[in-house]
């Protein structure tokens, strides 16, 4: 407790000075700026996308020929487990977090998230958790139980390597990261909107992210319970999934899928949000049926809680449960259909500009519809007993995930790149990127629907020649098409990487408002200043920015919508009345210190509990430093303060 007696508030633990660097690596590592954190999220997630993608390519290579030997059986099992885990938890979710972090405060007209230090903590936890998870490759093999890790196959008896321990503990760490950031973002959206921004004035992206954060908030504890049970079983001998002692393996399935189904909407809704921004912008008209889109998003969020057992139609639930869940699952097609219809009607009557972002967004409508419709065919429970655990399912979920979520994220890259980096991505390369991915996705995943219905189960290291059937269009043919397709996707992704490099090298700056956009985040400099807005805008309507640029003007042909102000003019007007004394949250050591404690504890659980004690000590140090550190240090204010009252410590948690 001696630590508490720290002399001045700008020092932490009375020893270290607060980090204040504004440039160099320190300005990133200790930052609490939501924009920097957003970028870091994006970079790391992109890296994991390449990792997960390479794993996918290995899978496709192995399946390109019958009885192939690119991967051994054990390695193959690790490969698809880690492919799925990496893609879902280390790519799609964090990439959505990247967009959310960067744009949520901007879209609601705030200067940062509600709890900036917690935000940094989330990022570091995610990074350390992801690295921890992947070190298993070098420490005796990765997890090999499939991404839903059904018990009892996941118990120590059947999977003796440490792979699953890494998986459980890694997901636990990543889960804490997401839970913390979900609370953070919900508070940000509910409490920190600019004056005048009613809930029904919020951009759809903000809305969808809000729904996602609620899903995370309530779904993560469920998988946390499941993971605790599993790790207590594996590491401390508890009996939870020990069938000999009377355990019921279906308990795990329920816990996993109560989380797992909301999870799939966690994956898709951010992209729904992104394309709901992109489509109106490039159609030059507001989103059709804004309210319907918002409410259907919320409805998906709610109904998504009542359908999880559709992953268990063959598990032996009994006919009553199966029937109930089958009907509930079909219900969810209704709100999703509302979205598809409204996007299409947004295009209708518009003035369509086919930028790369727009093409990705339209691609999402088309590809997601295919995946969604095959989802409905699974919802028909008797049919699903034929389809489940075959490539038909693999086809379904890659259409919705790659065709829906991933393409949506790419739409976001092209749309928001000029905002984040001040330069436009090359449209020509962008078109290559889009078409390669679009054809690639169809070539890879459409054949899987056929393969599945023709009887090829998933998670099989080999498929035998004698079961390929006859004729030209046999299973071998479709498997090879799928493999070719996956390399098309990879070359599409490669185009994107090239594009990033090319764009980074070119000198030309992007115009302030390249797309003639509609929402608040465009009412900032590109890239935005550290404090986002010179003055917090007052919001009067949905598409605030658009309405500041355009006005109804009487012309000789009657009233017409005319651009009366350029983005530069709008911005200049805001700048003219800039706020003074903007106090930004200051950088801090503690998020990264605290986050570092957790993987240490986790290694300890696997190898030696003594190490866990060290980790716990680091954690405690982090917490103490954190609690005793004021969240605003005096010398890092944007505009040095004049009066005591304005610099005083405001929050003990953030």
């Amino acid at each position: 407790m001696a630590l508490i007696a720290s002399p001045t508030p700008t020092q932490s633990l009375g020893v270290f000075r607060r980090p204040v660097a504004a440039t160099g690596w320190r300005s990133w590592v200790f930052t609490v700026d939501h924009k920097k954190i957003g970028i870091m999220y994006g970079v790391v997630a992109m890296f994991f996308f390449l990792v997960g993608g390479c794993e996918a390519l290995l899978i496709r290579l192995q399946l390109a020929a019958p009885d192939n030997t690119v991967l051994s059986a054990g390695l193959y099992n690790e490969m698809f487990t880690m492919h799925a885990t990496t893609m879902v938890f280390l790519f799609v979710m964090p990439m959505a977090a990247a967009f959310a972090n960067y744009f949520l405060p901007l879209q609601v007209g705030a200067r940062d998230v509600a709890f900036p230090r917690l935000n940094a903590l989330s990022f570091w936890l995610f990074l350390f958790g992801g690295v921890f998870l992947n070190t298993s490759w070098f420490l005796g093999g990765a997890a090999d139980g499939g991404w839903f890790m059904y018990s009892p196959n996941s118990s120590r008896l059947f999977s003796p390597s440490h792979g699953i321990d890494f998986w459980v503990l890694g997901l636990q760490i990543i889960g804490i990261a997401s839970l913390v950031s979900s609370i953070n973002l919900i508070v940000t959206v509910l409490n920190m909107r600019a004056p005048g921004m009613k809930l029904m004035n919020m951009p759809v992206f903000t809305w969808m992210v809000l729904v996602v954060q609620f899903l995370l908030l309530f779904a993560l504890p469920v998988i946390t319970v499941a993971l605790f049970l599993l790790s207590f079983q594996r590491n401390f001998g508890a009996a939870f999934f020990d069938v000999d002692k009377g355990a019921d393996p279906l308990l795990w399935q329920h816990l996993f899928w109560i989380f797992g189904h909301p999870e799939v909407y966690i994956i898709i809704l951010p992209s729904f949000g992104i394309i709901s921004e992109v489509l109106p912008t490039f159609a030059r008209k507001p989103l059709f049926g804004y309210k319907f889109v918002v409410f259907s998003g919320a409805a998906i969020g709610f109904v998504g809680w009542g359908v999880w057992a559709h992953h268990m139609f063959a598990s032996g639930l009994g006919p009553v449960s199966v029937a109930v869940f089958s009907v509930a699952t079909m219900l969810i097609a209704i709100p999703t259909g509302v979205k598809i219809c409204n996007w299409t009607l947004t295009l209708w009557g518009g003035k369509l500009w086919f930028s790369t972002a727009m093409m990705f967004a339209i691609g999402v409508i088309v590809l997601f519809t295919i995946g969604g419709l095959s989802g409905v065919t699974h919802a028909v429970a008797p049919a699903d007993t034929q389809q489940t655990d075959t490539y038909h399912i693999v086809g379904h979920f890659h259409y919705v995930i790659v065709g829906g979520a991933v393409m949506g994220l790419f739409a976001g890259f092209y749309y928001w790149w000029p905002k984040v980096f001040g330069k436009l991505l090359n449209e020509r390369l962008g078109k290559w990127n889009f078409w390669l991915m679009f054809f690639g996705v169809n070539l890879t995943f459409a054949p899987m629907h056929i393969l599945g219905m023709q009887g090829q189960p998933r998670r099989m290291v080999v498929w035998p020649e004698k079961l390929t059937g006859e004729g030209f269009f046999n299973l071998q043919f479709w498997n090879q098409i799928a493999t070719v397709g996956s390399f098309l996707i990879a070359s599409g992704v490669f185009m994107f990487l090239v594009n990033v490099v090319v764009t980074a090298k070119k000198a030309e700056k992007a115009p302030l408002d390249p797309w003639d956009a509609r929402t608040l985040e465009w009412m900032t400099a590109s890239p935005p200043k550290e404090h986002n807005f010179d003055t917090i805008p007052t919001v009067h309507s949905l598409d605030e920015f658009f309405h500041r640029k355009y006005e109804e003007v009487d012309t000789d042909k009657g009233p017409r919508l005319v651009k009366v102000r350029s983005a530069e003019e709008v911005l200049a007007a805001e700048e003219a009345k800039a706020d003074a004394h903007i106090h930004l949250p200051s950088p801090s050591y503690w998020p990264i210190v605290l986050a570092f404690g957790l993987p240490v504890i986790a290694y300890g659980v696997i190898y030696n509990l003594l190490l866990s004690v060290v980790g716990a000590a680091i954690l405690l140090l982090g917490i103490f430093g954190w609690v005793l550190e004021p969240s605003v240090a005096e010398d890092s204010d944007y505009d040095p303060p004049t009066g005591e009252s304005e610099t005083k410590e405001l929050s003990s948690v953030g």
Binding site: S159, K285, A314, S326, L373, W435, P457, W478
Partner: protein
């Protein structure tokens, strides 16, 4: 380069759908669109219309999107009216899918219940384990008029009477597996500690392949199975054959030597019904001492089956296998009952298996890595036999039919 994205997209969409409809392989043995029994057929009858509905909805969506792309692309027109929607249209577009889905719900629910019926005389116990299926025909149950005189335990091939409702009682000895014969019915998980049922019925004699479809560890891909449907007379013959008393090999033959090697090396895990040791005592396998799941396939009539070790490796040569698979229904039974004849015997497979099973099928048998299981294997270990011993064991096994 990118002149007409609209047309491209439509072509792509049409192609994607076309692939789905036209792209089925001929005679894929596990084709769910080619049901061969009442249960699978009722699923198919439900599934196809749903696919058509989905297809039509998809085509409508693509058509509207395609048209909008073409019609409303930027040709220099004015900024469109900033309209926020049309509630009536929205509500209509919400109700329409609801109606379609309601229409799908009704037959779905009724199918769920009708597929779950359990009224049946012919009950077969099915047990999954890493990585093969065991079938246990309960003594006294009546299948297509044939009464099972005493319990029959086999593996790999589930022999059933054609045109008869069979009820499987499915469970597992270790992890979760899933029993699936696509042309006869959907899947049912085999969950340790739980008993699930599944109905099977095949219209005609024939061979219907299947695969374990719940991920069950290392050799999940090599855990296959087949259902063999025989007409009643043939089924009776099969039952009689399976329950025939054991005949020991003639003394002095290689098979007789093989028998003693078998007793020494194999019998601790594998049961051969009726087998007696030199003292005339019955030889009883104790697989629970050596194998984690506590069982190994019963080898009493090994050579009546056409494949082994999770129905992965053929006991028949490729030509004989193809002949059998393609046999017309009325000839199938006779051909199957011949079993593995000398000219059809795929010796290489069996030999390699006995020589070094884990090299053929990945399994956990390395003594160094059996710490967590207390020394028990998951699968069959390599036994380090000499080629001569293998010859003799094969000679012995050849008589197991």
């Amino acid at each position: 380069m990118f002149v007409k994205p609209s047309r491209r997209r439509r072509v792509a969409a049409a192609a994607a759908l076309g692939l789905l409809l036209a792209g089925c392989a001929k005679n894929a043995p596990q084709d769910t669109f080619d049901p061969a029994g009442s249960n699978a057929r009722s699923i198919d009858d439900l599934q196809r219309p749903v696919f058509y509905v989905a297809g039509v909805v998809g085509i409508i969506v693509f058509a509207v999107v395609g048209y909008a792309i073409w019609k409303f692309k930027d040709r220099g027109q004015d900024i469109p009216e900033q309209s926020h929607g049309n509630p009536k249209l929205e509500i209509a577009l919400t109700i329409l899918p609801a109606i379609i889905l309601a229409a799908i719900c009704v037959p779905t629910v009724s199918q769920v219940f009708s597929l779950d019926k359990k009224d049946n005389n012919c009950v077969i116990n099915v047990t999954g384990q890493q990585w093969w299926w065991e079938y246990d025909y309960a003594k006294g149950s009546e299948c297509g008029g044939v009464v099972i005189p005493e319990s029959i335990v086999t593996s790999a091939e589930l022999v059933i009477p054609a045109n008869t409702d069979v009820l499987l009682r499915i469970t597992s000895r270790d992890v979760i597996h899933s029993f699936w014969i696509p042309r006869l019915n959907g899947k049912r998980d085999a969950v340790p500690g739980r008993l699930h049922t599944l109905r099977l019925q095949a219209d005609q004699p024939g061979l219907y392949t299947g695969q374990c479809t719940e991920f069950c560890g290392l050799s999940h891909a090599r855990m296959r199975q087949a259902a063999i449907a025989l007409n009643t007379a043939d089924f009776q013959t099969w039952v009689t054959n399976q329950t025939e008393a054991y005949t020991a090999p003639e003394a002095g033959t290689a098979a007789a030597v093989g028998q003693s090697t078998f007793i020494a090396q194999c019998s601790r895990c594998h049961q051969v019904n009726g087998l007696q040791d030199g003292d005339g005592k019955p030889v009883l396998a104790e697989p629970d001492l050596y194998v984690l799941s506590g069982a190994a396939p019963n080898l009493t009539n090994l050579l009546t089956r056409t494949a082994f070790a999770g129905w992965t490796f053929d006991l028949l040569t490729d030509e004989c296998r193809d002949t059998l698979w393609n046999a017309p229904p009325d000839e199938f039974g006779a051909l199957y009952l011949k079993g593995v004849t000398a000219e059809c015997f795929n010796e290489a497979n069996l030999r390699e298996w006995i020589r070094n099973a884990p090299a053929m099928k990945p399994m956990y048998t390395d003594p160094k890595n059996l710490g967590s299981t207390g020394g028990k294997t998951r699968g069959m270990p390599a036994l380090g036999l000499t080629e001569a011993q293998i010859d003799e064991i094969i000679a012995y096994l050849l008589e197991r039919k």
